[in-house]
Structure formats: structure tokens, C-alpha cells
Amino acid sequence: MTAASAGHLPADAPSPGVWSAAARRLRADRIGMACLGVVAVFLLLIAASASGLVAGGWQREVAVPSAPPGFAGPRPVQAPGALQAPAGPRADLSDVDPLAPRYGEWDARAAQFRAVEIQRLQTLPLGADRMGRDVLSKAVKGTEVSVFVGLMAALLATAIGTLLGALAGFFGGRLGDALEWLYNVFTSIPGILLIFAFAAVFGRGIGTVVLILGLTGWTGVYRLLRAEFMKHAVRDYVRAAQAIGASAASRMFRHILPNVSHVVLVQLSILTVGFIKAEVILSYLGLGVPVDQVSWGTMLAEAQSELLLGHWWQLTTATLFMAVFVTAFSLLTDALRDALDPKLRGLE
């Protein structure tokens, strides 16, 4: 890293490693660095939200239902109905009212309780939802949940794909055939159908979504890593490691894995983007995040009926948060891929 940042290398310095070379290429990519900044801001926000510093009270109903955003101004007071309020003094009905003797008793009893009139805000910075919850807090909390689900599911899928790919590529033979068969089985069922089949038996919840996406999404990573491990298993450095007595596990994970880890990292970030989008769809369809949690998907699901009433702010906020994060993350992924694997540049 220090050698790379020095700009020009002394003649006897070791050539820069793959990571420092990649870091240098990434730093030269202005779009990539800007996106890295945006993603870092989001990660800070997520950390703050997860530790309860911000958006802890997203479930509190702080404003009037569907309060508009501050810049749009409070909702105009509804015109009173056709009935005119009666004028003049109140008529005394106590001689015909059968409940009249008990009014005094009830007033005394009511006085024993203290009623607090909750001040509900007329506007919020980004408006409120149908129940009067702050859309901004919901969006922050939703970011935490959506990104967490996407990242965890991607980690799980990448771990499964890497492990199976390493086994199949390194050992081949019977084990390779068996894993290839498993891969064929999983890829012969369209992805969304596989997700539904898993969702039908696993039930609902954040952990379940992570599990379902992870268990169904490993095939792409497996395919790539299998090819990489096949290629590397016969290279000289791996044979040399074998000659000095390194075990198979050590050759696979201590020698080969660091050399293909850039492929893993790129796959991880590609999967994260895909899984964040998948979580939104699944939550909308009612198969994802449960109703007592909030994610971008549940926000968009609520926003559909709100939009018909002209309440556009929840839809806009959720879309904006998601668009900014996913765009930054996708462009960062492209930059990472270009920096780590120049051979793949320009391919989808």
C-alpha cells in the first residue's frame, strides 16, 4: 500500500501486490471514489440506526395521519359541513334528560384522571405515513433493514458458492460430479420459483429472507469459483505448497483462496445489489420483512394505496433512499470490478 502510494517505485522494490495495485486503480476512478463516499455515509447512518442513535422511535405516531412534508405546508383545513353550528344560549333539558342526575357524579370521577392531550405535529420534514409515523425515521430504519438483509444474504450465498466451488474445482472427480449435479438441479428451476418454494416452507421473518435468498442465490458464485479453482489447482505455486506438505484444505483456503478473493469480492457486491432489490419485491408480496418491521419494500407497499390519495411523500422518500444507495453501490461494484479484474472490464 505504501509502495503504491509513493507514485513511482524504486527499482529494487517488490512489485505491487494485487490489492495495492487495485487500490491505486480504484483511487484513480473518480466516479468510483465518489460512490465509495456515498456508501460510507450510508453505512455510518446504518450503524447509527442499528445502535439506536437515530430513528429509534420510528414506530411513534408523532404527527397527524399523513401529515405532509414541511416544505409543502400543512394541509388546508377542511371546509366545515353544510350544517351551521347552532347559535344562542343552550336549552336547559335537565327536566326531561333521564341521565341528568348523574352528570355531577361522572364529572367528579372524570376529574380524578389526568388526560394528556398529545400534541400531534401538523407537518414533518418529509411527511408522515397513514398512522402519523415520521417518514424520515422510517426510511432510515428501512435502510438499515434492507441493506442488512441484502448484505447478509449475499455473504451467505457467497460463502456457500465459494465453499462448493472450491471443493468441486479443487477435487473434481466424483465429488465434482455430485456438486455439478446439485448446480444443475438448482439452475433448472427459475430463481423466483425456487425462492417461492423455499418461502412456502420456511415462513416469514428477516432471518428467513436472508436464509432463502442465500440458499437459492449461490449458483453464480459456484460456477465462477469452480472455474478459478480448477485453473489454480494445477499451478506451480500450489504444487510447490503440496511438495512442502501443505494439506488439501490449506492449499485450497490458504494458498488459492487469497489469489481468487477479488472474484469473490466482486461477486459479493453484485449479489448484494440483487438481493436488496429482491427483498423489496418479496416484502411487497408479503413474503419478506414482517409487518412490525420496516424496510424499503414495506414502505413501497404502503405507498401504493397512499399515492391514490395524493400522499406521494413516502413513495418518493423510499425510492430516493433506495435509488441513491443502490446506484452508488452498483457503480462502486463496477469500479471495484474494473480495479480488481481488468479482464472483465466492459462485460455485464
Binding site: 466516479i31 449435479w181 446439485l182 444443475n184 438441479v185 438448482f186 433448472s188 428451476i189 427459475p190 423466483i192 420459483l193 425456487l194 417461492f196 418454494a197 423455499f198 418461502a199 412456502a200 416452507v201 420456511f202 445489489v273 432489490k277 423489496v280 419485491i281 411487497y284 408480496l285 408479503g286 413474503l287 424499503w296 419494500g297 413501497l300 405507498a303 401504493q304 399515492l307 391514490l308 413513495l315 425510492t319 433506495m322 435509488a323 444507495f325 443502490v326 446506484t327 452498483s330 457503480l331 463496477d334 466492459g346 462485460l347 455485464e348
Partner: protein
């Protein structure tokens, strides 16, 4: 040719067996007890016991697996647990609606994206490329969900150009009245990534030597692109269409739910929410079978697209 076909069909057997096994194990090991789902909350232990006997759930697992295989082979999945409708009839009545929406989407997507991609590839410049790439990424980062929420609100609710949702019994009414909005939205969203993908296929070919030779011998640029580049890019294009083909039978769940289209996708989603296992199992196994058949078909088409491809 016949020998090739036979061998390919033979190779499908283990994969299909795997799919059957996966579905069986998944529902057996992790799914709830079918007898309790079927019996409902008020079922007596005797009722549950009798359901268990009817379904063969009291038999050993290999007998149950055999019953499952028999169901698949005979296309007889019994009745849906939720509605009592025979599963086969359920498919037959829902599939037309799905195809009415999905076939136009696939056709329009491909027919619009191919010329667009060819045009973009022929007219490339590094700044335009970069802009198109960034614009596509931004457009893609917005969920498909947002596009259909806003599209339905704008075109159907506000402007009134299309009905908000609905479906009829007549194919013509469906195609001209109810299908256009969902098809339009899906094509609008799908076009950008498709164009980007096809563009990369064309760019791979444009850099080849034979293109330079064709230009050097004085062929007009349209001829070079249409007769040489397009023909050679057909293989990845066919692969891509082959990948998309099986999903037209399950449809787009989102579109069907959103526009109340009584298709297979909405039915599967309902089945998932109602724990209607026979429907989910049947769809999964048959769509897997269909996917394998499509893959074989695509491999055969390779030979038509590129005579150099040998089937072995």
C-alpha cells in the same frame, strides 16, 4: 442428430430426479404437517389421522417418495388444498392469461432491444457510452415496483388512457384493453438492461478481424452490421432468450398481482400464502422440466445459427 437428442434426453434424467428429490425433501423436512394444514384449526385427532392415511403420510418415506413420483408421471396432483380445484385444471385455466401478457413482453423486448443495441454499438463514443452506462445504472437502481406503482397511477388513474386493472374472457379484449399497460411498463423497464446486454454482445463482434475485412472489401456499414455482426452475435442472444423463455410460463408475479391478472404467477403466490403445497410442488417440477427442454432447444438452435457448432 437422433443419437444426440437421445443422449441429451438421457442426461436430463438425473437432473430431473434431483429436482424431484429437492422438492420432496424441502417440503418433507421443513414444511408443516400437511394433515394439520388440510384439517384446519378445528380438526379432531381422528380427522387428522384419517387425512394422514389418505395422503399416505403414515407410510415410510420411500413409499411417500414413490407416491410423489407417480403423481408427477401421471400429471395427477389431486386437488388444491385451498380451493379443491384439480391442480391440472388450475394450470390449464391460468396459463392463457399469463401467456397473453408475457409473450408480447418477450417479443417486444427482443424486437426493440436488438435494433437499438445495434444502433448504439455502431454509433459508440466513449462519452456517450459512459453516460448511457450511468443512466442505465440509475434507472435500474429504482425498483421495478416503483415503476409499476407510478405507471399505474399516472397512465391509468390520472390520465385514464388504460383501465386501472381487470381481465375479461375474450382474448381480443384482453390483448387490446387490459394487457397494453402491463406490457408497456414491463417493456419500458426491461428495454434499457436488454439493450445494454445486447450492445456488449455486438461490441465483442465488432472488434473482430472479419468485420475489418468486410469493411476493407468495401461493404456498406448496414450490410456489415446486419449480415456479419448480427449473425455472429446470435449465439449469446439465443442463450439470453433461452434463459428468459421459461419464466414466461410463470409470468411476472408483480405484474399479475398489481393488475389483477388471473395468471399462473398470482396463483402460485396465493398458494405460497395459503401453504397450498400441491400447487407449488407441481409448478416447480414442471417448470424445471420445461427449462431443461428449452435449454435443449436452444442448443439445437445454435447449430442453425452457427453451422460450425457441432453437436456431440
Amino acid at each position: 442428430m437422433a443419437a444426440y437428442l437421445l443422449r441429451r434426453l438421457w442426461q436430463m434424467v438425473p437432473t430431473l430426479a434431483g429436482v424431484v428429490l429437492l422438492v420432496f425433501v424441502l417440503f418433507k423436512a421443513f414444511g408443516g404437517d400437511p394433515a394439520e394444514i388440510l384439517g384446519g384449526l378445528n380438526a379432531t385427532p381422528q380427522q387428522i389421522e384419517s387425512i394422514r392415511q389418505q395422503l399416505g403420510l403414515d407410510r415410510p418415506w420411500w413409499v411417500q417418495l414413490w407416491i410423489f413420483v407417480q403423481q408427477i408421471a401421471s400429471f395427477d396432483w389431486g386437488r388444491s388444498w385451498a380451493t379443491g380445484e384439480p391442480v391440472a385444471q388450475l394450470f390449464a385455466s391460468r396459463l392463457p392469461a399469463t401467456l397473453t401478457v408475457m409473450l408480447p413482453i418477450l417479443l417486444l423486448d427482443t424486437l426493440l432491444a436488438l435494433p437499438l443495441a445495434l444502433a448504439v454499438a455502431a454509433w459508440r463514443g466513449s462519452l456517450t457510452d459512459r453516460l448511457v452506462m450511468v443512466a442505465t445504472t440509475v434507472a435500474l437502481s429504482i425498483s421495478f415496483l416503483v415503476y409499476i406503482i407510478v405507471g399505474q397511477y399516472l397512465f391509468a388513474f390520472q390520465l385514464g388512457w388504460f383501465p386501472v386493472q381487470g381481465w375479461s374472457d375474450s382474448l381480443w379484449t384482453n390483448l387490446t384493453v387490459y394487457a397494453p399497460l402491463p406490457v408497456l411498463l414491463a417493456v419500458l423497464v426491461g428495454l434499457a438492461p436488454q439493450t445494454r446486454l445486447y450492445r456488449s454482445f455486438f461490441l465483442d463482434e465488432i472488434g473482430q478481424d472479419y468485420v475489418r475485412t468486410a469493411r476493407a472489401k468495401g461493404l456498406a456499414e448496414p450490410v456489415v452490421l446486419l449480415r456479419h455482426v448480427l449473425r455472429n452475435a446470435l449465439i449469446p442472444i439465443l442463450t439470453n432468450i433461452g434463459l428468459a423463455l421459461p419464466s414466461i410460463f410463470v409470468g411476472s408475479f408483480l405484474i399479475e398481482v398489481f393488475f389483477s391478472i388471473p395468471g399462473l404467477g398470482r396463483e402460485v403466490l396465493l398458494a405460497v400464502n395459503r401453504s397450498d403445497y400441491p400447487v407449488i410442488q407441481a409448478v416447480t417440477v414442471y417448470v424445471a422440466l420445461l427449462t431443461m427442454a428449452v435449454n435443449l432447444l436452444v442448443d439445437l438452435l445454435y447449430m442453425w445459427a452457427d453451422p460450425r457448432v457441432e453437436l456431440k
